[in-house]
Amino acid sequence: MQELYHVAPYTGYVYPNETVFPWGVLIVIYPYITGLVAGSFTVSTFYHVFGMKRFEPVARFALLTALSFMIFVPTPLLFHLGHPERALNALWTPHLTSAMAAFGYTAGFYILLLMLETGFIFRQHIVARAQATTGVVRGFYRILAFGSDDVSENALAYDRKWIRALALIGMPGAHILHGYAGFVFGSLKAREWWASDLMPAIFLSSAVISGIALLVLLYVAVAKVRKFALDNECMRGLAYTLFGFLIFTLVLELLEFVNLIYKGREGIETVMALIAGPLALGLNIQLVGSVIPLVVLTVMIWRKTQGTPLVVGLTVSAALIMIAVLAMRWNVVIGGQELSKTMKGLLTYHAPIWGREGIVVAASVFIAPFFVLWALTRLFPPWDAGSQRA
């Protein structure tokens, strides 16, 4: 019996049913992954929609990153469900007042959009591959090229139109997908720590910084492995956007926090005890992981840092932000449940290592997209300057 669930220790008074956490570390990873999708897609739109040339070197890679992570967005949820085989009930018979009922549709629509966008962006390359191969491989590439091997200027212009349109639709798509995740938490009046109107906005802006940070780390790592020089202008662009969105995120988070404290509703003492107690480590990680990058980025932008110092400073900032955003997801998802609904007690969550909802499964769900991304870059080479277009 005991091995089926983990009982959380508590102080004060909590309802008897609260000692088993409904949502564990898998649900921490879920918004983290959707955030990375929304964030990296945003970077690709900087180029594909806003036409910012300096983001060209990473734009196509950013799209592949979004696709790789998007494929795994449903997995933490499926691992979490008591009856994953009934997951599609939410599609066949969606309950329209439930925010969660929108997930299948939004995710399905968005993954389709990402696949189409990828297909159009890499179609020229795919056609070349199809023509250079035979048999099954050729057939496979022909399907990816939407069955057309027309790469005339006319056809490419048509592709470009689709690329722009899909990127344009994808922007609200990505942000709805992730804003929705914020709404799932923010709309619950039962939990004081979650019930904030700012929650979807905070989820979104933190998603953008996590996505930019992930791309910085991947771009630097790939350049090291593939031995190509990092594009200085692109790195500066990433630094600027990271800086801007970081400030926006921190302001929103600060506003939410100050609002909660200032309103001082019933049970505020317990909220303060949560901050000083079970959630202290997570909040400190979030704070340090946000403030150090803010200082580093401010100094670098002030001094117009270039070259290697920029690479080092940006990489360190990006790594810290990745950690800070993960901590933020933990602090929201776990923190909300550590604060008892009685507002008179605190629980402490200890993530199990093994089991369906353990750290090992959650970490695997997070790591798996990197392998898919590697495979996708084999199929659709994003760094190949020859096929760089659109």
Binding site: N17, G82, R86, A90, P94, S98, A101, M343
Partner: protein, 275 residues
Amino acid sequence: MKNKTHKTASGRRVFLGKLGKVAVYAGALLGAARGLAKGESSAAGSFPTADYDWTKHRWGYGVDATRCIGCLRCVEACKIENGVSNDAHHFRTWVERYVYLKGEDKPRIDSHSDPQNIAAAGSQGEYRFDNRYKDAEVEKAFFVPKLCNHCEHPSCVQVCPVGATFKTKDGAVLIDHTYCIGCQYCVQACPYGARTFNYEQQVTDKCTWCYHRITKGLQPACVEVCPVNARIFGDLMDPGSAIRKFIRENRVQVLKPETGNAPTCFYIGIDKEVS
């Protein structure tokens, strides 16, 4: 050529006509099926069972906290009647103890699932409050039975992504265990901590007011066993029912009214610290 076109057009018309008929029949069948599912068939008065009509009742629950002695027979009866997991973390109903000690302005609160109380009981499958305050100067103390509030506007029903949990016409909030996907969003959304996850069945679980009993004219198990009538149950549609009398003769209140959930469990004798 002309003739052929004409023939094709008329063929198409015939086909469309047939299609239309099929659509009408299918629509009628679907409508009938939906009507049946909603209990609105011509055989009204026979839903959800042959001899029970859920449109003729409106159940309500009362808790008289001034009467509760914390004997916990209700918790035991509920677990047995409904096969609730026999441990200290899964309850369809529970009892809270509030104790104000002399010189303290906040109550000390515990329930039978408190480790000290489990130690006193001897196991998680037995229920009792220990005697920890026997040497203390108690200024005020009382027990508060808790259960699902079967809200008029239940947050759990609002958030269920598949509609597995629903409000019945006679006022109960129930779960279809064969349709629940086990996401536990409802567990999060309930402001009262009334929902729990059944790990054997991997679905959410909650109080049903013993729906299988009340639809047969019986009382919920917890009400049946309460030795002091601290738990009151009845039909709000019946002016002579125990619950109507309870509401009429007392100044009742509900838990956490600020949520807007509008519970249909009514309390008397509770204190500001009860939430």
